[in-house]
């Protein structure tokens, strides 16, 4: 049995990450653990035994059908800064492209206030616009809002799940997940496909969130909950923690206020956050405009004058319907022209 196959089979057991690490340490290799589970010399459930017993080739074709990649620690697609953690996951299931450079994590409670949600979205967007990758948990509340912000900026983001990669949890974020992938982001989990969202699986996933990040921003958090676990993991990993101050006495800010008392950097608005993060991740390249002007734009703007209907434009440019519609679509998408009633008009302000 080759090592990668054994690790894949073992990952499919869906055991607690600590247990996987202990077992590998004890038996020296993943292959030995798989054999031991098969032989019944490791105490576990029948379900896990059956899952581990399935041949790696079968699993690989299942993963291919799901469009999921299996990335084991030590492989080139496995981020180095995550591999350095003592409790790094043995392997990850990945959809999309996992960025190799560390990003910025924005986390917080699921039961957040609108204040928290607005801040999270603003941070997510600012981080995206700064060109950094946002890392979060795709959960309800703060996590989801941060992802929304990044997606709105058109930048990359990574979502770390506490369930199987093909399990839509929370269901209302299925679409958000897809948009994340469309924007060249990634969805990651250490649990095998089909794993339901069980409570005990979420705390361990938080160490991956902080492990993929160069800084962790806690927007809102109670005194107990996943966000503080992430902050705790960040502290042990040596990742700087930022916290958003809130009203003293308000449950959803008690956690962040505690973090500040204990030494976390307080952050204010999005600009303040970016300025702080530049000290860690390096200065942001503020690009004036990255898009180049498509060749078609000039003639079209001339032909439009101050507005023309689609048919008039076609006549002036001597075009057939298909080319015309394609041209209009491209220029509207790029923001060069706009539809104003019957007319197509040059878009103002120009870029």
């Amino acid at each position: 049995m080759n090592t990668d196959d054994a690790r894949l089979q073992l990952a499919y057991g869906g055991l607690h990450p600590d247990r996987i690490r202990d077992l590998i340490a004890e038996r020296r290799s993943a292959a030995a653990v798989v054999r031991a589970i098969g032989a019944g010399s490791v105490r576990t459930t029948d379900r896990v035994r059956a899952a581990v017993a399935v041949d790696a080739a079968v699993r690989r074709s299942e993963l291919q059908a799901l469009g999921v990649e299996f990335v084991a620690k030590g492989q080139s697609a496995y981020p180095e800064h995550l591999a350095e953690l003592p409790d790094a996951p043995d392997a990850l299931f990945v959809r999309g492209e996992l960025p190799l450079a560390p990003g910025v994590a924005v986390v917080g409670t699921r039961r957040c206030t609108t204040y928290g949600k607005r801040l999270a979205a603003a941070y997510g967007q600012a981080i995206g616009e700064a060109g950094w990758c946002l890392v979060s948990g795709l959960a309800r509340g703060v996590d989801g809002a941060a992802h929304e912000g990044t997606v709105a900026s058109g930048a990359r983001g990574v979502a770390v799940l506490g369930c199987g990669i093909d399990v839509a949890y929370p269901p209302e974020h299925a679409f958000l997940g897809r948009r994340l992938l469309d924007l060249a982001g990634a969805i990651v989990t250490e649990y095998p496909p089909g794993t339901p969202p069980e409570g005990w699986r979420f705390p361990p996933r938080n160490r991956i969130i902080s492990g993929l990040a160069a800084a962790v921003v806690v927007v809102e958090a109670g005194v107990k909950g996943g966000a503080l676990i992430t902050a705790g993991a960040a502290l042990t990993q040596g990742v700087p923690v930022f916290a958003v101050p809130g009203d003293v006495g308000r449950a959803s800010s008690q956690g962040t206020n505690l973090l500040i008392r204990d030494g976390a950097h307080p952050v204010l608005d999005a600009d303040d956050l970016i300025a702080e993060l530049e000290l860690i991740l390096g200065p942001v390249q503020r690009s004036v405009t990255t898009d180049q002007v498509p060749a078609e734009v000039g003639p079209v703007l001339v032909a439009l004058e101050d507005g023309a209907s689609a048919d008039e434009l076609a006549a002036r440019l001597d075009m057939g319907p298909i080319d015309l519609v394609r041209l209009i679509g491209k220029l509207i998408a790029g923001g060069w022209i706009a539809e104003e009633g019957d007319l197509l008009v040059p878009s103002v302000p120009a870029r």
């Binding site: 048919d311 519609v325 394609r326 679509g329 491209k330 539809e339 007319l343």
Partner: protein, 489 residues
């Protein structure tokens, strides 16, 4: 002294066989008792059956006659059971040869014994085919039943003919209804409107719901009416489904191979559009448009509750109507085409006439054009009003040409398994997108020019454009076209 023949009741569009049993016994007083959940029209059948039998020269037995309609718990209505009742009574009083009543019969009797048309002829033929019996129908209903192969249909004009028809083997050959000679509307009549014509072609190719916005007289209705002409012909199966729905509504379907086009007015009731009515539910406009086009002119004028009621049937392809204990399912796989003015006066954004609406009124009108149903329109296009010079322009491309491309595109979708209109996110993800296409979509998203819901809508349309191009890979050009029809009502 017992006779039994078969008829049908329509449950939704599904014909259900109904046994019409007659039992004739000696009695001091002549009686005619009718049981088995008949409605008033059926109760009155007693008088019609009696008179018709007498007018046709039969002796009406002065005995105790009990007629039972079975299954007894199925509500039945209408006058179509007259003929089967008469046949059963004749059989029970030994006025027919033994076994002659083993037919499926449907028809209303006139007092002089002639037989009048009824709805459900096609259903009766379907039941007759599954029972392997001959089918006796009024001549008018026989035509619609002749759409079905393998049924021995015997058109009968009066009761005497019906009695003769029960005896003889195979009946006269009935011609299916002749297709009315087509005055089909041709796209060649539409001048200019390049973008709208292309949108119509894409809508036809992918079955996408299409929304057209434009000033009064810009040609929205003209375009919509030409959509059926570019749709592929219905398969025999699809044609039969629509004919069943039409038959249930008591309307014969002319061209069975042509996609229907229905255009209900915005003042129509909920029952008229989704189906209903008191007593036995009748299919509504959405079912008459099954496998065809449902055109909502002035879509903003339809009451919101009506548009909401349309959403589910359109999504699921069938509608369940519940009435008085009976819940029936009607088909409703339609392609929706909406047309709307951009504002109440109609001239907002018009290049020739100015808009006279106040901002507040215009805003409110726009608001009516949002909501869940309007989210279903994959394609949105502005139809511009033409200037006098343009109206005299050259004729457009003919429908036949466009239809050829549409049929080819549909063939590709058929091979994949589903109409592009029905593609969901996961299936879209699995298609081949060129990096440039993805990039263009990303740009559109980044410009905030695209809402979340619009995402899949654009991708569905792009897939259809690629099908029209006979391209496996969905490229930048295809995506650009889809983005051009994203519009905002």
């Amino acid at each position: 002294m017992f006779g039994s023949t078969t008829s049908v009741a329509l449950v939704g569009v599904e014909p259900q066989p109904v046994e019409v049993e007659a039992h004739v016994t000696r009695a001091a007083q002549s009686k005619f008792i009718l049981v088995g959940l008949p409605d008033t029209a059926i109760r009155e059948a007693r008088e019609r059956v009696r008179s018709a039998m007498q007018s046709s020269g039969h002796h009406f037995p002065s005995r105790c006659i009990v007629v039972n309609l079975s299954p007894a718990d199925l509500p039945k209505s209408g006058s179509a059971y007259d003929l089967p009742m008469a046949i059963s009574v004749l059989a029970a009083s030994k006025m027919l040869p033994v076994g002659a009543e083993a037919v499926v019969a449907l028809g209303e009797l006139a007092l002089d014994g002639s037989i009048r048309p009824v709805r459900g002829g096609l259903g009766a033929a379907l039941a007759a085919r599954s029972l392997g019996r001959p089918c006796l129908l009024p001549p008018e209903s026989a035509a619609e039943a002749a759409l079905l192969d393998g049924v021995d249909i015997r058109p009968v004009a009066d009761l005497a003919a019906a009695v003769r028809a029960t005896a003889v083997a195979p009946g006269a050959v009935v011609e299916p209804p002749r297709p009315p000679e087509g005055h089909t509307l041709d796209l060649a009549d539409v001048r200019g409107q390049m973008a709208a014509r292309r949108a119509l072609e894409i809508a036809a190719a992918g079955g996408h719901h299409l929304l057209m916005t434009g000033a009064p007289g810009s040609g929205k209705t003209m375009l919509a009416r030409r959509l059926p002409g570019v749709l592929p012909p219905l398969t025999p199966e699809e044609g039969f489904e629509t004919a069943l729905a039409w038959a249930a509504a008591g309307r014969p379907r002319g061209r069975i191979d042509r996609a229907p086009f229905r255009s209900p007015h915005h003042s129509a009731t909920l029952a008229a559009i989704v189906g209903g009515g008191s007593g036995v539910p009748v299919p509504g406009e959405i079912s008459l448009a099954h496998r065809g086009v449902l055109f909502l002119d002035e879509v903003g004028e339809f009451p919101p509750h009506l548009l909401d009621a349309l959403r589910q049937p359109i999504e699921e392809g069938s509608v369940v109507v519940a009435r008085k204990g009976a819940a029936v399912r009607f088909p409703s796989a339609v392609q929706l085409v909406g047309a709307t003015n951009p504002c109440p006066c109609g001239y907002s954004g018009d290049r020739l006439v100015g808009c006279r609406c106040s901002q507040r009124v215009a805003d409110r009108y726009k608001q009516r054009l949002s909501g869940p149903l309007l989210d279903r329109f994959d394609l949105r296009v502005r139809v511009t009003r033409l200037e006098a010079g343009e109206l005299a322009g050259p004729r457009g491309e003919a429908s036949a040409e466009v239809r050829r491309r549409v049929v080819a595109a549909r063939k590709r979708q058929h091979a994949r398994g589903s109409l592009n209109r029905e593609l969901v996110g996961r299936e879209l993800d699995a298609m081949a997108w060129s990096p440039e296409a993805k990039q263009l979509l990303t740009v559109a998203v980044r410009r905030q020019a695209l809402t979340g819901r619009g995402w899949d809508r654009v991708r569905r349309v792009a897939a259809t454009v690629a099908d029209l191009d006979e391209s496996e890979l969905i490229g930048e050009d295809h995506m650009a076209e889809a983005l051009a029809f994203r519009g905002s009502p």
